[in-house]
């Protein structure tokens, strides 16, 4: 067993300042002995001379405009869980050691990650990219690794003897003991763990409690130390607060990127992908802006989510300055790996590229801008096709569809959509390439329809009389007509008396039967 401890010494302050790219001096303060004291200070504050334990008024005196936060243990816990999720990419055995440590059992992963040092460096870089300060240590026992990391020793210890030697040098402050007891130990002249271990065990247990001795046994590997495994949650939620309200889109995107990296790690840990992310940007005294960003294909690529968010922000003005930003992703889907071709030349599957283009167009131009066409089995031309939100359907579905009972269409699709790519036996009909979204009435002189002059009927009629069963009956005679300038049109005239009259059989036909009403329905192009 080899354990890696990921310790976050600055976590209390970092959960508050992580949202901004260049944090200002900030501290988390806590009541200790009736006085407000600094619990955790970020790097800019530390540079100004503020350190943990300093009284808050003194900190204020050192730095003008110091940001002071109350401790938010819930946020710390959430951050720890996000990091544990990230750690699952390295090993399946991850456990939380609250308040500020995550433990990874990495014995089985050493080979994959090319050794303990490489693994440690890689994890460290990833954690830093998320905006955390971390110290990492590797040791044969979980508690030992945790203590080493807590003491800020970034070392790799592999065998128990070396662990004992390393632990010996740790200062007493690494131990989790009550303050009075620590003071008592200090008064006894004990400065390091070596001093403590030299004392007789029985006496130590009697004076300072059994847990202290047991803790030390666990750290040294003399006592079993089972840890509860961390389980990834079912959905992902991440909230980040800004110290000052932010109006700049780039600053928002910087924060969003950190959250998306966490989301991506979460999805990887769950072997999942998502189609939809929801962003909630909270404003001061205004309802929050909710941005729902959909992708036509489930994926877990952080950069792609960020691209879509950027396009969306370009399109929509926010209601005001943003105080906090929340990312939520709920409906997880199975992740389908993008397959590369074994043979060169024949590049990768176009499905992902196609989906990427659609997502980008929709994010920038609106969801109602981009459509695919479906062919439906209906005689009425306007009902023989349908626009549906564009999505790149794989050309050959991988898994065969579940066989619907007695060969019918699946129940969720009531219309008779003809699946794309299915062999369609076309009845040979002349249809123009262009259809008008709605048939446009044509003027007529006498019986002759007109469109930029008289029209000459070239062929027809093709009668379409259908739809009496769903209250959209049509009774039309379609002709192909030629205009003066040579344009060929697809026109029809409504057969009076049959059209609407049948639907409302009581009322008389609206038009006298002698004047046919002509409509333009399409252009041959």
């Amino acid at each position: 067993m080899l354990w890696l401890a990921l310790h976050l010494p600055q976590l209390p302050i970092e959960v508050h300042t992580r949202a901004s790219e260049r944090p200002l001096p900030a501290v988390v303060a806590e009541q200790q002995d009736g006085r407000s004291r600094v619990l955790s200070a970020n790097a800019p504050a530390a540079r100004g001379g503020v350190y943990p334990g300093l009284a808050l008024p003194a900190a204020h005196a050192l730095i003008a405009g110091l940001y002071v936060y109350r401790r938010d243990e819930q946020a710390e816990r959430a951050a720890l869980e996000h990091l544990a999720t990230l750690a699952i990419a390295y090993t399946p055995v991850v456990s939380l050691a609250p308040p500020h440590t995550v433990l990874l059992e990495i014995e089985g992963s050493l080979r994959l990650f090319d050794g303990a040092e490489r693994l440690l460096q890689r994890l460290h870089a990833e954690v830093r990219r998320l905006g955390y300060t971390a110290s990492l240590a590797i040791a044969p026992t979980p508690a030992g690794a945790e203590w080493l990391a807590r003491a800020g020793r970034n070392i790799v210890v592999r065998d128990p003897d070396a662990l004992r030697a390393a632990l010996h040098q740790l200062p007493l402050s690494t131990l989790e003991v009550a303050r009075e007891k620590r003071a008592e130990l200090h008064d006894l002249g004990i400065r390091t763990l070596r001093d403590l271990l030299r004392l007789p065990r029985a006496g130590l247990a009697r004076r300072f409690g059994v847990p202290l001795v047991e803790d030390m046994d666990r750290a040294l590997g003399l006592r079993a130390d089972p840890r509860a495994r961390f389980q990834t949650p079912e959905s992902f939620r991440s909230v980040l607060h800004f110290p000052d309200a932010v109006i700049d889109a780039e600053a928002l995107l910087f924060t969003a990127r950190r959250q998306l990296l966490e989301l991506s790690a979460f999805l990887q840990a769950r072997c999942a992908a998502v189609r939809e992310t929801t962003w909630q940007l909270r404003h001061w005294r205004k309802p929050p802006s909710v941005l729902r960003i959909e992708s036509s294909l489930a994926h877990r690529n952080a950069r792609r989510f960020l691209d879509l968010l950027r396009e969306r922000m370009n399109r929509e003005a926010l209601a005001g300055a943003v105080e906090s930003i929340e990312l939520y992703a709920g409906r997880l889907e199975e992740y389908r790996e993008e397959s590369a071709s074994l043979l060169t030349g024949n590049a990768r599957e176009p499905l992902h590229d196609r989906s990427l283009l659609v997502d980008r167009l929709r994010a920038r131009l609106g969801a109602d801008s981009t459509h695919c066409l479906d062919l439906l089995a209906d005689h009425r031309p306007e009902l023989a096709q349908r626009l549906r939100p564009a999505s790149p359907a794989p050309r050959q579905p991988r898994a065969p569809r579940p066989a619907a009972g007695n060969g019918r269409q699946p129940a969720q699709d009531p219309s008779h959509r003809i699946p794309a790519g299915a062999p369609v036996r076309m009845t040979p009909l002349s249809r123009p390439l262009w259809l008008l979204p709605r048939p446009a009435p044509l003027a007529a002189s006498g019986a002759r329809p007109q469109w930029q002059g008289d029209l000459t009927l070239e062929s027809g009629p093709e009668r379409i009389e259908s739809g009496w069963w769903d209250n959209r009956p049509v009774a039309r005679d379609y002709y192909i007509a030629r205009a003066r300038n040579g344009t060929r049109l697809w026109i029809y005239h409504e057969r009076p008396g049959c059209t609407r009259g049948r639907a409302r059989s009581a009322s008389p036909p609206q038009l006298p039967p002698s004047t046919p009403r002509w409509f333009l329905h399409g252009l041959f192009s």
Partner: protein, 241 residues
């Protein structure tokens, strides 16, 4: 004989030859037209421009290209077309409907942005755009975007836009010929082609493209559907008055 020897040694360039630097092309499906086009077809990864009155067969001209590129599995993007593409007619032309991407846009900047994205993405086999007049100031950018993908990119304008210069690789004008016997006859004039001078006109028949291939309205055999339509006589005057 001596002259032939010179040509064989490739030291003399003849004006009619297309330079070898012409990139990939997709045949138009019309041998007469292919003969005039550099490389023998629609250029890929470069802009083409088609000037035609709406309803004169400009879109039919592209249909064989779409049908040919079905197997690439990439989008056929229709950027802001003037009307709705007819699913039935597209299918009849052999176009895979699952690949048709219909993008309806209102403003010109949106149109240009959408076109550019489609051209650059590499996810489109064919990109078609419609403009009331050439976006002269943006053509160069579009041409560059087209160069980074390998789509057949075609912009449609109404005719009569004059002879303004263009960075596109190809600009043709399509005019319908009024021919009673063959409604699909069009004249194609090549206004600009890369590696050559304007030429044409060539008259080709889009007859098979005008409607579904099996059913040209003037085909001798009447499809069975006609009878189902009530067996009315051709032409006008058949309204039940």
């Amino acid at each position: 004989m001596k002259l032939d020897g010179l040509f064989e040694r490739a030291r003399i360039w003849r004006g009619g030859e297309t330079p070898s630097a012409i990139g990939a092309v997709v045949p138009t499906g019309l041998p007469d037209l292919d003969a005039l086009l550099p490389g023998g077809g629609w250029p890929r990864g470069a802009l083409s421009e088609v000037m035609a009155e709406e309803g004169h067969g400009a879109l039919s001209l592209l249909m064989p290209v779409l049908a040919r590129l079905n197997r690439e599995g990439r989008w056929f993007a229709f950027i802001a077309p003037p009307y709705l593409p007819c699913a039935y007619a597209l299918t009849a032309h052999g176009v895979d409907l699952a690949q048709v991407l219909y993008v309806s846009l209102r403003s010109d900047p949106e149109k240009l942005w959408g076109l550019e994205q489609c051209l650059k993405s590499g996810a489109c086999a064919v990109v078609l755009g419609w403009f009331p007049q050439p976006p002269v100031r943006h053509l160069r950018r579009l041409q560059l975007a087209a160069g980074s993908g390998d789509s057949v990119a075609c912009l449609f304008y109404p005719p009569g836009i004059g002879e303004c210069s263009t960075p596109a690789a190809l600009r043709i004008q399509v005019t319908r010929v009024d021919d009673e016997a063959d409604p699909g006859r069009v004249t194609i004039r090549i206004v600009k082609r890369r590696g050559g001078w304007p030429c044409g006109p060539v008259t080709v028949s889009l007859r098979s493209f005008m409607a579904s291939p099996e059913c040209s309205p003037h085909a001798g055999a009447e499809p069975a559907d006609r009878e189902a339509a009530g067996g009315q006589s051709h032409g006008q005057g058949s309204n039940p008055s």
